[in-house]
Amino acid sequence: MRHKSLPSMMEFEKTWMKVASYGLLILVVVIVAVPLFIIVTLSFKTKTEALSSNIFSLPQNLLYLDNYVYIWTRGKLLTGFVNTGILIVTSLIGSILMGSMISFILARFSFTGKRLLYLAFLFPTVVPAITTQVATFTVVRDIGLYNTIFAGIVLYIATDIMQIYIFLQHIEKIPLAIDESARIDGASYLKIYSRILLPQMKPAIATAAIIKALMIYNDLFIPYLYMPKSSLKTVTTTVLSFVADRTSDWGLVGAGIVSVIIPTVLLYVFLQRYIIVGVVDGAVKA
């Protein structure tokens, strides 16, 4: 997101407007920051301290890590991270391959029924996967994927194909002449796809990967409904079940929340520019 270097012609001309604006901005920052601050401080408090101390106070001992130790060992958070990691990596590979193949065909070939096919790929956008869970559940169960990690992988690949819109727009910007000259040199379509198009699509792939990884990391329903077995729990469902049983221990709840949000916060700190652009792209196009 670039800011113009030229001074904008759209400026407040009255001082009170400027003051009110800063007031509003600061209020928003406070509303975002305070819950996070409280959760972080709680995570370093003992159970009794969390109960008795002022909720806005700093913890007595900043090195009190028992809550974290407890949730990572007893809560088996590591298993959750491993499972989420497997889901993200495999689903991303599948989604990117599938999305780029579909986009390649839709963008570079003309054939009968193409329009119909395009509409078919639009279908998951019009009828969101979450609305059909009741029926999808019976399908997944009947083909024997229930309570296996493949349920998650397959559903993440098959029911969310927003990456196609990002890919299509990107491919349209790659000149057709590149394909054609490769054809004349005798390259097969497979070669054009794998050697020319895929490398050219790197920025679009990165955008789609960020959005999908975030979506999978934060998802609740697919792991909750289809992979309830304890060895298949993801980060989200691990915390859901472990914390839900111990909501009165706020120190523990805090440590659970912080452990779960740290990875995406770190990602945000380092890749902020790409993430914002990518998420905005994905939200508007899909």
């Binding site: 400026e11 975002v32 009828v127 659970g256």
Partner: protein, 300 residues
């Protein structure tokens, strides 16, 4: 010679198209089209999830309309819609403010506002269940601190207002996203228009009214569409915090439908409710598309 060359080429083309599309299409058919068709089918039966299906016509739909469950869910979801409308408006105001180069620390403000969107929904829901706690939650502690003891609020007590508390969590998460999308649209407005308006001596409010708002109308409509769909499909907050209770007063379409299916083994009723949700989503999309099309014709 030439003829044979083009025909092998044609064959290669057909092979590539089929090879590239077969697996994706199969996956889509199995996990998207087929479940959607099956959903409609189940909605006309009294299926328990296992065993034989018995066709019962429109009975599930009639029951949803008669027992008031549909009305209750719609009423609950309307709270999310109200909050969403406030959220889009707030996002627009923030974007207009942050679009001004004279505001200092714009990047900082933008980063902070967007941050909640990055956070895991379940973690955020747990976080707010602490914020909303009646006895020890910071919101009520703050109210008591400034002497408003009697104003301490039962944020998630299980009255209808709980839906607004849950909706506010969604607002906390998504305002930044909406703001950033608006900001992108604002930055694509040419400065030329504002320069011309300045020459005419237009005030700030006039510039917003006659230049900014008309230029970002499409973005506005997209965000409203996304917002409506998001509100209709809300589930994270009630699912984690209230489980839709007590007595269904915080149930949304999704939590209610899952409850019917997996708690009461009534897949028929669950599917009927889901079909109604899909119809509502289609209606919202249709209305939006209609508005966009009519506008397109006017400008053509």
């Amino acid at each position: 010679m030439r003829n044979r060359f083009t025909s092998t080429q044609k064959r290669e083309k057909t092979v590539v198209i089929i090879a590239f599309l077969a697996i994706p299409f199969l996956l889509l058919a199995l996990f998207s089209f087929y479940p959607a068709a099956k959903l409609v089918q189940i909605s006309f039966t009294n299926w328990s999830g296992l065993g034989a299906m018995e066709f019962i016509g429109l009975k599930n739909y009639q029951e949803l309309l008669r027992n008031g469950e549909l009305l209750q869910v719609l009423f609950n979801v309307s709270a999310y819609i109200v909050v969403m409308l406030i959220q889009v408006f707030l996002a627009l105001v923030l974007a207009i403010i942050l679009n001004q180069s004279s505001i200092k620390g714009r990047n900082f403000f933008r980063s902070w506002t967007f941050l909640p969107y990055m956070l895991n929904g379940v973690a955020v829901a747990f976080m707010f269940s602490i914020m909303y706690d009646y006895q020890r939650g910071p919101l009520n502690v703050l109210l008591r601190l400034i002497g408003l003891e009697q104003c301490a609020i039962q944020w998630i007590s299980g009255s209808y207002m709980t839906n607004y508390s849950l909706g506010l969590i969604a607002m906390w998460r998504y305002t930044g996203l909406n703001m950033v999308i608006f900001l992108g649209a604002l930055q694509s407005i040419s400065n030329m228009y504002y320069e011309a308006a300045n020459l005419d001596g237009a005030s700030f409010i006039q510039k917003v009214r006659y230049i900014t708002l008309p230029s970002i109308q499409t973005t506005f409509e997209i965000l409203l569409l996304l917002g409506f769909n998001g509100a209709l499909q809300a589930y994270f907050e009630p699912f984690v915090i209230t489980k839709g209770g007590p007595g269904g007063i915080t149930d949304t379409f999704i939590t209610k439908s899952l409850k019917y299916a997996f708690d009461f083994q009534n897949f028929g009723l669950a599917s009927a409710l889901a079909v109604m949700l899909v119809l509502l989503i289609l209606l919202v999309m249709g209305v939006c598309k209609g508005i966009l099309l009519r506008k397109g014709r006017q400008s053509a």
